[in-house]
Symmetry: C2
Subunit: 401 residues, 2 copies
Amino acid sequence: MSTQLILEKQKQAVEILKEKDIDMWMTFVRETGNIKDPMMDMIVGTGATWHSAFIITKEGDTVAVIGSLEEANMKTVGTFQNIVPYLKSIKEDLIKVLDKYNPNKIAINYSRNSSLADGLTHGVYLELVDLLKNTPYAERFVSSEEIVSALRGRKSQVEVDLIKEAIRETLIIFDEVTDFIEVGKSEKDVANFVKSKVKERGFEMAWDEEHCPAVFTGPDTAGAHSGPTDKKIEKGHVINMDFGIKYNGYCSDLQRTWYVLKDGETEAPQEVLKGFNVIKNAIKMSSDAIKPGKQGWEIDNIARSYIVENGYDEYPHGLGHQVGRVAHDGGALLGPKWERYGNLPYMEIEKGNVFTIEPRLTIDGYGIATMEEIIWVTEDGCEYLSKPQTEIYLIDSPLAK
Amino acid sequence: MSTQLILEKQKQAVEILKEKDIDMWMTFVRETGNIKDPMMDMIVGTGATWHSAFIITKEGDTVAVIGSLEEANMKTVGTFQNIVPYLKSIKEDLIKVLDKYNPNKIAINYSRNSSLADGLTHGVYLELVDLLKNTPYAERFVSSEEIVSALRGRKSQVEVDLIKEAIRETLIIFDEVTDFIEVGKSEKDVANFVKSKVKERGFEMAWDEEHCPAVFTGPDTAGAHSGPTDKKIEKGHVINMDFGIKYNGYCSDLQRTWYVLKDGETEAPQEVLKGFNVIKNAIKMSSDAIKPGKQGWEIDNIARSYIVENGYDEYPHGLGHQVGRVAHDGGALLGPKWERYGNLPYMEIEKGNVFTIEPRLTIDGYGIATMEEIIWVTEDGCEYLSKPQTEIYLIDSPLAK
């Protein structure tokens, strides 16, 4: 992430601290090479080896209390105004900084609901509480959940432009996949083709390479979040692929559906078209309804109910998540009120949020239909960042090619 | 990491559970795409989106309680014998598994001392305690610190062979750097040359790209853990580079020192040779003393005292750390008794540990001399995995080339 973009996000963080009336936000870490607080990339821009505190105050000050060996690096990176290096223990210097600001509320990165606001490990939390034991500060900790959710969720124009770039490159690869798909090739063949394109163009995968891309052909496939198998593409299969890249630090995450024509067919059978159109309509209805102030479960419910009304099983996941520097970004989720999603489906959708919309249904005997589009929430609705799929992609038989 | 190596480490974990008399080890995670418990790679081999428990018991059972959408993927990965998929909440299934084993001691991944045993975030910890609130299990939690430290520290022959491979490739690049170094080139030029070699050969950097490699030329450089600058190489400079790669999942981490001859010189001046030899001797003395049962601070103290006795400042870091799947691996550290190192310098060195030895000193007016070698602890001593540097590398003046 560029220094300029980090400084922009820090400035935004200060506004959010004011809005939420929190005096200080402290990202407290160690050995980020082994486990890295997800906020480090966005507000610091480098790693830390020893216990380190990256502090942003409501007044707009930024202070990094870090191991002395990393002082020069921190200066080069240039994202923090004040650098306080220590040699043997962070304790004294950290307390000195806290004393200076005497904050009433200190947000730290722990959250039961959001993994992105939960970068503080339990051992480091215990250490931090112990370091501050004869001070009033450990009593003043609050979760940074609201800050992180707003900061990651409210995308600036620069961030949205980067996401658009990633989407553009991804859709080019989807088009190439349409040309590549052929009866007799396996899910793995398709995935390897995609991987070779990603590598060739210097992108990264948006998530775990084992199921990025995820490719499913025909009925009785492994289901979402699985890796591609040796299963071969056959005539009459519905195929879908879930795939995203990370490009210049920002991710895409998209899905498309294909149908492999049988001999003599010139279009997909009625039941396949019906399934595809139910997905298409569910996405349209959801995106029509989305706007600031709504809660995610309300949007999920529109798509979920419509799919069930049309005689399909409900999808076993949320309708959509935020996208940004990571594939699963932000706080608010377009998800059902299931315990595993915590409070995320209840959070209010905000202007600037970037969401996927990705319902799914099974067409018996053919495979799974699913599309995933990406939208950006505006003042009173949303705008598509991806060019939506409007027709199921047809794969001709080898003879017709 | 290959499935075979993961199964080997799981088996080793079972032995360690018996040795430490701990009934169960549970790695409890969520959204590892955003923040990943460092043990996931070694004992699971894939990621997890929803709350997931990866359990290894003293009896040798392995159980993964995971979101149902990830069941197929987990089966493909093939590292857990028993897979328990859930849809809406992990609670019921997790308690059922715990009831089955009724463990008295359950190790979970939190540690004040070791980042590698501290993969459980504070928010997920609170969630876990809450999930188990009407059961006796949350009262039975202990830190997995000892398990993780032993498991990561005791390297198998297969692991050591992989580290050796990474070292071999790294030393080839160091040799190429010797040919590349020239008066007028900058620290950044050298770093970029190294990066191009790493990319060309398909390796990864062993740590953060901003300071891997770290290159320092001449006096008054930025100090360890800093990135390379535009500072140019001059005649009479001592140059050092800190660099490692990750190759097939295992890391190297090495340092070497060069001297740029002035016009008419055929060898380095006396003060440079003295500095170099003090480092060389400090490494020799440390590696002579290392053996199972010693504590890390004792070894650090040998090198540290010797350097100070010879009139140099003590190095502002530990003498050496373990290396493995990450550059800073394992528990025990060859470090001084400074608060920032917690209990790590007091832990006993064990057979199978792989350590760096990397003292450093400043040669006034010339630069920093440092070497970093890698050793493997044996029954009663150690064996070098790197071919030690025995003479300072000399760079001829451009005319002589």
